[in-house]
Subunit: 211 residues, 2 copies
């Protein structure tokens, strides 16, 4: 509808600007509390000095996430959406001057915690990354297909909790692949560092190439 | 706006019909995977034969939740919203004939997993109940205030996992009370049964009164 069309026009402007400047942008989408910010905390720490990063983070209210991500070597911009349940391309476009001021090569966008609405709004990213924590259950990819079918990368978070849960990892992987054949699945724990090397190496290859 | 106004008109019709028939309805709202369905599984088992219940459950896709809730003594109706990120009053109104056919006194509505959008849509319920799992973190009430400020009851789920988490229960309670002074907090585990007696007793008192 009208809102989506206007959004897509803005998203294309964002996409072109990022491409001209050789910047990779990814749209991290997941439920509230699945560990997006915790993953970015560890990611920024590890990439500092190796790959210049920037972050735009969105929430209905508070700048809690931006404050957690400060001081880790990356420019961070908080958007408070107030009532909106998703970030939109116009908000990203307005933040670009500030967040790209230090020459970032990789832009992480942490969307509002929501498995539904963010999937409908193109932000001009290279692609969407869907996060799913081990504590949420195995059937979420099937129940929320619009996000998972659009995400070439899925991240299973909080793997350190698996011993304490009745959770079937094989079923979860199968559901992810059913909804998005060929999906690339990272399995990691921000808390213990398990699986983080593969995640970090991926971004260094993806965004670290010379312009 | 227009959509909300039409919704509210339908919600008032639902509210009046429930009141005429002495039926209590509650709108369970939370993130995906916070344990709404697990709580209803145990609730329906325990209330069967004591208090007639019914359930309307909403998801983007699948009837997974309705199937989990079958055979527990309550009429269950699944609504698949496809793209919509929340249930609306029109959908509830359309389901009432079927779901109330067995003389239910208590109607649980399990909304689409989403901490944002469902808060904006009145379904004709007595009140909203916000669920928050121990695995989501302490700051969700502050980050998603529209839901938590509208919920006179909050349920902390998955309390059995607390020993394995870095989670500050006092901070979580304080955040809930800050956003909704006087909020009534249940702390329970569907898995172990901890805290379930208080939850069940509450509904028996609430909805078990003679008409
Ligand atoms: N055990 C464990 N807990 C984790 C891990 N990652 C995050 N958490 C916990 O999960 C909770 C939520 O983490 P956040 O990083 O705030 O999640 P989020 O997805 O950014 O949440 P929103 O931005 O509100 O949508 C916090 O209590 C974290 O400590 C992990 O790898 N292992
Ligand atoms: N340890 C523990 N796990 C729980 C508890 N309640 C639910 N879970 C787990 O949490 C996951 C999600 O539970 P669901 O009942 O499907 O959550 P939900 O809120 O209904 O999810 P949606 O309907 O998709 O929004 C499942 O793996 C459950 O086994 C609990 O009390 N303790
Ligand atoms: Mg966050
Ligand atoms: Mg459910
Ligand atoms: Zn939305
Ligand atoms: Zn919505």
């Amino acid at each position: 509808r009208r809102i989506l069309e206007e959004n897509d026009v803005a998203a294309e402007r964002v996409r072109r600007r990022l491409a001209r400047n050789g910047i990779v942008a990814v749209n991290l989408i997941s439920s509230p509390g699945s560990g997006k910010t915790a993953l970015l905390e560890k990611t920024l720490d590890q990439l500092a000095g190796r790959l210049p990063c920037a972050v735009i983070t969105g929430d209905q209210r508070t700048d809690n996430d931006a404050r957690r991500l400060q001081g880790r070597g990356a420019r961070v911009c908080q958007i408070e959406t107030h009532d909106a349940c998703h970030l939109d391309a116009h908000q990203i476009e307005t933040s670009l001057d500030e967040v790209l001021a230090d020459g970032a090569r990789l832009l992480f966008i942490e969307n509002v915690g929501n498995l539904v609405c963010p999937a409908a709004f193109d932000l001009g990213e290279h692609f969407k990354v869907a996060l799913l924590s081990t504590t949420e259950g195995e059937d979420k990819p099937l129940k929320y297909p619009s996000l998972f079918s659009q995400s070439p990368i899925a991240v299973l978070t909080k793997t350190d909790l698996i011993p304490h849960l009745d959770w079937n990892i094989a079923a979860c992987r199968e559901n992810l692949r059913r909804i998005r054949p060929g999906v690339f699945i990272f399995e990691l724990s921000s808390k213990t560092g398990a699986g983080m090397d593969a995640w970090l190496d991926y971004w260094i290859k993806m965004a670290g190439a010379p312009i």
